[in-house]
């Protein structure tokens, strides 16, 4: 790999699949490492990479691992179409092209000294997982950590063992809900906004980070405002189809922003009006 290739965000670096972990029936976590043995580029929680399945296509996937772990990158991928299906079918040792890390991540500097409220829907927990690692690793730099996580059903819950482990940490509250639990499910049933009733929040000293389907984020932001959080304290991770991923092609244009370059994480106050517009 030449220095030019390394510095050019349009040129993928070849990585090898180190492991594939099945999280749910349709969602897998891939661990990748550069094929030349070099350390992968450092990433900030909330950033993404373009993963290239050679011969199939390229996809934007959030980094879901620990930013302090050296030598490898983790991506959690839900198989929903031909390209993601091809991605999750990679075997250990297979090659994948990686561009990135790219984009703007979560505002962790601004969150220091504050309570951190994470609200995740479905696969939206993946880009928030590095934030959990960051807060738990630097516990004294943050206030309470509250995670509200909603999935469609118990079998769609990601990182179940980790959720249980996180819940045992000090100053940490993990609340999980499902839309449909079945009669044997002992946990909470209802949409993620119903968890706010049980969250121990201090709205005036909290920073909220939200990721999930857009409709979920609309309901959640309304609830956050109702709870008393300032718009400036709310941050959302947006998703759009991407091509170049460096702000040139316009595929991911969202109002006056490009999700790839200006996001994917945006302050709510910056995109609030766009969230209410149809077909944007």
């Amino acid at each position: 790999m030449t220095a030019t290739a390394l510095s050019d965000p349009m040129v993928p670096q070849v990585h090898l699949v180190q492991s594939v972990t099945r999280e749910t029936p349709d969602t897998f976590t891939l661990t990748l490492r550069p094929d030349d043995g070099a350390a992968p580029s450092h990433f900030s929680p909330g950033q993404f990479s373009m993963l290239w399945v050679f011969g199939v296509g390229e996809l934007p996937i959030s980094i879901s691992g620990d930013s302090s772990t050296e030598g490898r990158l983790e991506y959690t991928v839900r198989s929903v179409g031909p390209a993601t299906h091809a991605l999750v079918k990679r075997q250990v040792g297979d090659a994948i092209g990686v561009r990135g890390p790219l984009g703007v991540g979560w505002p962790l500097s601004a969150a220091r000294g504050h309570d951190v409220l994470l609200v995740a829907g479905g696969i939206g927990l993946a880009p928030l997982r590095p934030v959990v690692y960051e807060v738990l690793r630097n516990r004294d730099q943050y206030g309470r950590l509250v995670l509200l996580y909603g999935a469609r059903s118990p079998r769609d819950l990601l990182y179940r063992k980790e959720l249980a482990a996180w819940a045992r940490q000090r100053d940490t509250q993990i609340l999980v809900t499902v839309d449909y639990g079945g009669m044997n499910w002992r946990g909470h049933v209802g949409v993620v906004t119903t968890l706010f009733r049980y969250a121990r929040l201090q709205p005036n000293r909290s920073v909220a980070m939200v990721c999930g389907p857009e409709v979920m984020m609309r309901f959640v932001t309304r609830e956050l405002e109702h709870q008393g959080l300032a718009q400036a304290a709310i941050h959302l991770s947006m998703e759009r189809n991407m091509k170049c991923a460096v702000g040139l092609c316009g595929h991911c244009q969202y109002g006056s922003y490009f999700v790839c370059k200006d996001g994917p994480v945006f302050p709510y106050e910056r995109i609030r009006s766009s969230l209410e517009k149809h077909e944007l």
Partner: protein
């Protein structure tokens, strides 16, 4: 009874309610317990109460033949269970089952309706609070419906 009055006054549902009205409510309230697995109410039965859940967990179920029962939501400490006592025909629209051992205050619906007829200010205060509970549940139901519909191709 003084303790009951204090606990009811401190419940989020009654936040800010004048102590005189709290006193009226206490006359209709009783401490209740439900063993895990037992039913608190069943669809079609007379809705003569509502509950302030103090501890435990309650599953709200609807009958959906042929799958028999579906849990549509769960309620925990601080939640309100039931508003069917407010409006005719005063019948429960769902089943509610204690998932865990559950403690609650039961407020007698007939007793409350009588007091609300006699004191419309109390009635208005209660209706405002129940309207908020109903609005939240309606929004949550819309969102849940969108979520489940989105699962279909």
């Amino acid at each position: 009874m003084e303790t009951l009055e204090r606990i009811i006054a401190e419940h989020p549902f009654f936040a800010g309610l004048e102590s005189y009205y709290v006193g009226l409510l206490v006359g209709c309230a009783a401490n209740v317990r439900f063993e895990a697995g037992s039913y608190i109410c069943k669809e079609g039965q007379e809705a003569d109460k509502f509950f302030l859940i103090r501890a435990g967990k309650v599953a709200v179920e609807i009958l959906a033949p042929p799958r028999k029962r579906i849990i549509v939501s769960t309620l925990e400490e601080g939640s309100i269970l039931g508003w069917s006592w407010l409006l005719p025909p005063y019948e429960w629209r769902f089943h509610a089952r204690a998932v865990e051992n559950t403690r609650a205050f039961a407020l007698d619906g007939k007793c409350l309706r009588t007091k609300c007829e006699q004191n419309h200010d109390l009635g208005y205060e209660l209706l405002k609070r129940f309207a908020q509970v109903i609005e939240k549940q309606l929004v949550a139901a819309h969102y849940q419906l969108i979520d489940l519909c989105a699962a279909e191709p």
